[in-house]
């Protein structure tokens, strides 16, 4: 399906800032990762940790004029998206890299049938007869397991259920056969059974097309279910990265450990789930040292003074990286 040695997407030191009246702040800082074809990368973190901004930064769609991507490289199939003009980026969006947004209820235009919206997405990039594009639209619906797609193309969004709408949104995202799809919490507005169906669907699609997925979520259950690699973000930076299995077995950053500890399990009976004391630091007042230090039970003087560099995670896996001064001791 693809040469598995070269990553589809390679991100180096992505840096996005937001300018406000109080000054300019980093929302995404020193974010680097790589993604191979057919692979799924999870990005987890609290609200405001920069997960969604990372996704939007890749596409060059950060909310202007407040936010802007100021540094780093985004290599998609070896091409640097950061050096492309807006017009060139438009050619890439949807065709090579696409995004599924959080809320299917509002991702579809209420004024058109879903067939028209699929067609529209195809027309942006493809020069082909209307008839054959229509066939491809129906094909895309079939790929996301919409029953009787020939009839459903005539439906308006309000005639469909939430799960069905999210499938249509998925069909639009895959219609131009992109290499990478960024899914920004695509299942949060769906109920659990529909959610499970949708995850299954994404996995099937991946197997069929060799698509690489970036899955932005705060649900560790989903991460365990479909992701092979994981980035844990805190206050705009990656605190721990690596294969999901290694991170789950040997979480190395105190923040990851605290997050995992706060996930309820069926095996252990607890009165009260452990939580992380305090709040994430506000962007305008980030700590000088490790950003998690004020809330960290293991913090010592150096944690408050300087940001830790990369060190190997406790699993010893070569791709398991952690940003903590005390990763080896604790």
């Amino acid at each position: 399906m693809s040469d598995s040695n070269r990553p589809v997407l390679e991100v180096e030191n992505l840096h996005t800032v937001i300018a406000t009246q109080r000054g300019t702040f980093d929302v995404v800082d020193q974010v680097s990762f790589r993604l191979e074809a057919g692979e799924t990368l999870g990005i987890v973190g609290e609200s405001g940790s920069g997960k969604s901004m990372t996704g939007l930064s890749l596409l060059g769609l950060v909310p202007k004029p407040a936010a802007s991507v100021v540094g780093g490289r985004v290599l998609l199939d070896g091409e640097d998206l950061r050096s492309k003009s807006e017009a060139e980026l438009r050619q890439v969006r949807g065709r090579k890299i696409s995004m599924i947004l959080q809320d299917p209820q509002t991702s579809l235009n209420p004024a058109f049938t879903i067939g028209n919206q699929l067609l529209e997405a195809l027309q942006v990039h493809e020069r082909d007869s209307r008839q054959s594009l229509r066939q491809r639209a129906i094909q895309a619906l079939r790929q996301v397991r919409v029953a009787a797609p020939e009839r459903r193309v005539h439906d308006y969004p309000h005639q469909m259920s939430g799960g069905m709408k999210q499938r249509v949104v998925g069909a639009i995202a895959i219609s131009c056969a992109p290499r990478v799809i960024i899914a920004d919490e695509p299942t949060t507005s769906l109920d659990v059974t529909i959610q499970a169906q949708y995850l299954k669907l994404l996995e099937d699609l991946q197997r069929e097309t060799g698509l690489a997925l970036i899955f932005i979520t705060h649900d560790f259950g989903i991460v365990a279910r479909i992701c092979q690699h994981l980035l844990v973000m805190y206050a705009g930076r990656i605190v721990e990265a690596g294969p999901v299995r290694e991170i789950f077995n040997r979480p190395s950053h105190p923040y990851t450990r605290a997050l995992l500890a706060s996930v309820p399990t069926v095996e252990r009976k607890v009165d009260r789930l452990p939580s992380i004391e305090g709040q994430p630091p506000p962007l305008h007042d980030l700590p000088k040292g490790c950003r998690f230090a004020p809330r960290c039970g293991f913090a010592e003087t150096r944690c408050h003074e300087a940001y830790p560099g990369h060190s190997a995670g406790r699993s010893g896996h070569p791709r398991h990286i952690v940003n903590c001064w005390r990763a080896e001791e604790i």
Partner: protein, 292 residues
């Protein structure tokens, strides 16, 4: 199915509700008073609207003791009021259609641009809208008439000037909320450019509002045109515009009331029907009501 027109026209409080729920009555009135006369004026009108006949001056209408020769009476120069009113429909219709068409396009385009691009485009546009709301239209028309003389084009200009700001403000407001919707973000993710997003994704969602607003403005425009003509700064005499016809009878209201009353009734019926029809249309096109 709409009920028979006879049941609706009876003047109880309920009939207003029915008239606004079923557009048959307002549409029928509009056809009779406005549309058919303006297209077939030459066929329907019994007399030449410009032909004066001094011996027949100030004939009363047939129901007030006049003859069938002049069913709705004559004015001071003996011109047939029915014929003049029928011909007047042409001017009411053409001015409202042309004026609303131009005003709608201008206002919608400006509103789309302001709401979509925001920033300085928005600021400039909205200040201009504020200014145009603050300028009295009659005063503007007076100034124009003083500078260029009164003309058909001058009336159209005033109409467009008054209308565009309503459309610009309304459309801008809706676009501001639409542009933040996820389907616009999704289009952007799919690689759509500004033009495609504005015309394919945003415009269709404001069309309902624009259509309803345009319909409701017909009444406003007809009144405006009549006011301008009444004041002598609209359509020049001796054209039989409704406002001019009403103005002709101003001095005679006590003695020959029909000279003003008949064209006045035409204005009243037209504006009332247009507004009822507009209300009905608004209810029909409101997506919140429609989905129920």
């Amino acid at each position: 199915m709409p009920p028979p027109a006879g049941g609706v026209a009876r003047g109880s409080g309920r009939s207003f509700g029915l008239a606004s729920r079923y557009p048959l009555v307002p549409i029928t009135i509009l056809m009779i008073v406005l549309v058919i006369p303006s297209f077939f004026a030459d066929l329907i009108a019994p007399h030449d609207p410009y032909a004066a006949s001094v011996p027949n001056r100030l004939e009363p209408p047939v129901f007030a003791g006049g003859t069938w020769e002049f069913p709705l009476g004559t004015d001071r120069l003996g011109r047939d009021i029915l014929s003049r009113t029928i011909h007047g429909a042409k001017y009411a219709l053409s001015i409202s259609l042309v004026g609303i068409f131009l005003g709608t396009i201008l206002g919608t385009a400006v509103g789309l641009a302001a709401g979509y691009f925001r920033g300085w485009t928005d600021r400039i546009v909205m200040r201009v809208v504020d200014v145009s709301f603050a300028l009295p239209s009659i005063l503007l028309a007076l100034a124009l008439a003083a500078a260029f003389g009164s003309s058909f084009e001058g009336v159209i200009f005033v109409v467009v000037f008054v209308l565009w700001s309503y459309f610009a403000r309304q459309v801008r407001g809706e676009v501001l909320s639409l542009r933040e919707r996820d389907f616009v973000a999704r289009a952007r993710v799919a690689g759509a450019g500004h033009g495609r997003i504005i015309f394919r994704h945003i415009l269709p969602n404001v069309m309902n509002t624009v259509i309803v607003l345009a319909t409701l403005q017909i009444g406003v425009v007809i009144i405006l045109e009549a006011s301008l003509s009444f004041l002598g700064i609209g359509i020049p005499r001796p054209t039989p515009a409704w406002g001019l016809l009403v103005a002709d009878g101003r001095a005679l209201v006590v003695s020959a009331w029909w000279v003003s009353l008949i064209p006045g009734l035409a204005i009243l019926l037209t504006v009332l029907s247009v507004n009822l029809f507009g209300d009905w249309l608004r209810d029909r096109l409101d997506p919140k009501l429609r989905q129920r």
